[in-house]
């Protein structure tokens, strides 16, 4: 799906159908997800210990969200005292404007960027390119995608949909002077060499942040490739961008969340790098950026926060486990969703970012099997949230509450009528008995075409007699 046509959430059905029809893609997603599922499981051999850790993680995140405004204030104070410049961005375009201002002040034509889903959310690369600034991805997966004009299909393993052959072709085409190879180590070496030069020259390093520690004013960055460390130490200016929900109260809250994150995400007990950035280079220090900025993006998060029914959405630590375990994601892949965040987490967070109208097909694209909620390391009741979003998309907003964006947008008269009739039938026993008597007698008249059901199945047909009739006969 590389090229100009970007997938959109509005086209989820079309995109997912196309993905399902691609057996190679399905097989590769299945095996990649199975691999991650097994690696995670190996990290949590003791269910009891896992449950304890998970409930601790859940409490930490709930606690942080309960005090969100206060923690954000404290974070800003502590960051400012350390010399970090804090910016608040309500929308993606606000955030991009802040980036452009910083770049303009430094006359920067180039940026190097570590992996950051929030930067995807604001489409930073595209916006910077439109203003003549070259923003280079330095995470290997993201770099491959950028060279190919493609988008991430997984929040942890962005290029999981690319094969070795794809990468070999992309590098040979896009990196001048690189020899054609299909050897993975050689490919990585080629990519790294090309990136080294960019690190040396770029005046601005951009990263995301996995956690923000309010009490110390620290930005925490979890990674495996070392590119994040380079982005936060080589360029003169470091700009971090993340969502307002990433704040935690204390440094001691970090270890349990870090452990849950790395084990749930990649099945690693620790990552290769854990960067804790607390302020810019100080007097007497030999390296580190002279200027550090933090951009805090809202983009719909306040909407989720303000409504108690949806606040848990923001507990997410972006581990991706819900995606790896999702039978729908495993089959349709990440690009089908057409959103920055795919899979179950995407289905619960995107409606707040993009509105319930554009994302109307995402909360319904789940059998509610519960695999996501079971593995979520911070206890987000994902199936519950999906059901609530389904309801919110179909109900007129209640007058006493501030509505969600596009609340009620998926309401259709036909669907409402079907359920009203259903409720009438099934809440009146006599009516139902009459109905079931006729339904069984007229079973031969059931239509052979039953919408989506008969796509892959024989039609549903009532039995010759209902259970209540059979039991009544039996008693006689």
């Amino acid at each position: 799906m590389s090229g100009d046509r970007q997938p959109r959430p509005q086209d989820f059905k079309v995109q997912s159908r196309a993905a399902l029809a691609d057996p190679a893609l399905r097989a590769s997603f299945r095996s990649a997800m199975d691999f991650l599922v097994d690696k995670r499981a190996a990290q949590f051999p003791d269910i009891g210990a896992y449950e304890r850790l998970r409930s601790l993680g859940t409490r930490i995140r709930e606690h942080a969200l309960a005090k969100l405004p206060e923690l954000l204030e404290r974070l800003e104070q502590n960051l400012t005292a350390l010399g970090v410049q804090v910016h608040w961005a309500e929308t993606p375009s606000d955030a991009n404007r802040i980036f452009l201002d910083i770049a303009a002040r430094h006359g920067a034509q180039a940026m190097v960027k570590g992996k950051s889903m929030v930067s995807e959310e604001i489409e930073l690369n595209r916006e910077m390119a439109a203003h003549g600034i070259d923003c280079v991805e330095t995470d290997m997966g993201e770099y491959i995608l950028q060279l190919d004009g493609d988008r991430p299909s997984h929040i942890i393993m962005p290029a999981i949909h690319k094969t070795k052959a794809d990468v070999s072709r992309i590098f040979a085409e896009k990196i001048p002077g690189s020899a054609h190879t299909e050897d993975v180590d050689e490919l990585i070496a080629i990519g790294r060499r090309a990136l080294r030069e960019r690190f040396r020259d770029a005046p601005i390093g951009v990263t995301g942040a996995n956690f923000l520690v309010a009490e110390t004013g620290s930005l925490v960055l979890v990674e495996n490739e070392g590119n994040g460390r380079l982005c936060t130490s080589v360029p003169e200016v470091h700009v971090a961008i993340t969502g307002i929900e990433k704040v935690i109260e204390r440094l001691e809250h970090l270890p349990p969340l870090y452990t849950l994150l790395t084990r749930s995400a990649t099945g690693q007990a620790v990552t290769t790098y854990l960067n804790i950035v607390t302020g810019p280079r100080r007097a007497g220090e030999k390296d580190g950026p002279r200027e550090v900025h933090l951009i805090l993006l809202d983009n719909g998060r306040t909407q989720a926060w303000r409504d108690q029914r949806f606040r848990a959405t923001l507990q997410c630590i972006r581990c991706g486990a819900c995606m790896n375990h999702c039978p729908v994601y495993t089959r349709v892949g990440g690009l089908s969703y057409g959103t920055t965040y795919p899979g179950p987490i995407g289905a619960i967070v995107s409606p707040h970012l993009l509105g319930l109208d554009a994302t109307r097909d995402l909360p319904t694209a789940s059998s509610l099997c519960g695999a996501c909620g079971e593995v979520c390391p911070v206890g987000i009741p994902i199936p519950e949230l999906l059901m609530r979003l389904r309801g919110a998309a179909r109900r007129r907003p209640a007058p006493e509450r501030k509505p969600l964006r596009d609340e009620g947008a998926a309401r259709s008269r036909a669907e409402t009528l079907v359920w009203t009739a259903w409720a009438l039938l099934y809440s009146r026993a006599r009516l139902y008995r009459w109905f079931s008597w006729w339904a069984t007698r007229l079973r031969r008249l059931t239509p052979a075409w039953q919408g989506g059901w008969t796509r892959g199945r024989v039609p549903l047909r009532p039995a010759p007699r209902s259970l209540r009739e059979l039991l009544a006969q039996r008693r006689r």
């Binding site: 097909d361 059998s367 509610l368 009203t420 409720a423 059901w453 199945r457 549903l460 259970l467 059979l470």
Partner: protein, 253 residues
């Protein structure tokens, strides 16, 4: 061994209209265990289809109509796992802002027992009449697995039946693709999940598979009928009845 002498059967909508034999077999198995089964005739549905689609108000109306149907303090046996989960976990949520109904719903939730769970704690090996060897797979609905741990009860139950060899298909814990209105709103995704589930079941080499959830069975059998195979899913109650010395089994001999 538990000693209830009476139980209610809450058979739910799918069993009543589409799979009555499963309900009948459940009754016979329960009777073979020595309990008297009451079937309140006004029962209809647990409300799950509307609830999971986002129509909680309609679900509440239907659930409310069931609340008065189980006046005696007997266990309420549900032969469909996901409906059992609905009663146990979601009915109390439906009535969260209605104290009187909430109390009723909570009392019912506490008495709700999934079929396998109920039978497992009461079945004695001496009651098994048929011990013909059979290779079997067990499919558990996702909500039954996660809300009621029905897969464990199902396994324990099958382990008590001599001659049954339980196989474990690939991705045994994965969803079969049913998911209520999901199967209708996203038919291609649902079908892909169902096809993979059937491939795994067929590859396992089982002669038959059993489940305690009629929704999954309708889905899987509905798709199996389109395949050149005789493999079918059976409600676990029907399988049990065929192995036990029940009234119906004797009549058939």
């Amino acid at each position: 061994m538990e000693t209830d002498t009476h139980v209610y059967l809450f058979a739910t909508c799918v069993v009543d209209l589409f799979s009555p034999q499963s309900g009948l077999d459940a009754v016979e198995v329960l009777e073979a265990l020595g309990v008297t089964v009451a079937f309140p005739r006004d029962q209809t549905c647990c409300g799950q289809p509307a609830y999971t689609t986002g129509f909680a108000d309609d679900a509440r109306r239907v659930a409310a109509a069931q609340l008065d149907l189980f006046p005696q303090p007997w266990p309420i046996v549900v032969p469909s796992g996901s409906c059992g989960g609905m009663l146990r976990h979601h009915w109390p949520r439906l009535f969260a802002d209605d104290p009187q109904r909430l109390a009723q719903a909570e009392a019912l939730a506490a008495r709700t027992v999934e079929f396998c769970d109920f039978v497992d704690t009461r079945l004695a090996a001496s009651q098994v009449a048929d011990t013909t060897p059979v290779r079997l797979a067990l499919h558990t609905s996702c909500t039954a697995r996660r809300e009621l741990a029905t897969h464990l009860a199902g396994r324990r139950l099958l382990a008590k039946l001599p001659g049954v060899e339980l196989l474990e298909p690939e991705h045994e814990a994965e969803c079969c693709g049913f998911g209520g209105t999901f199967a209708i709103k996203h038919p291609e995704i649902s079908a892909a999940m169902t096809e993979d589930k059937l491939d795994a079941l067929q590859a396992s080499g089982c002669a038959q598979f059993v489940s305690a959830d009629c929704g999954c069975l309708l889905n899987l059998n509905g798709a199996l009928e389109r395949r050149p195979t005789t493999l079918r899913g059976l409600h676990i109650a029907s399988f049990l009845r065929s192995r036990l010395a029940t009234r119906g089994a004797e009549q058939r001999r």
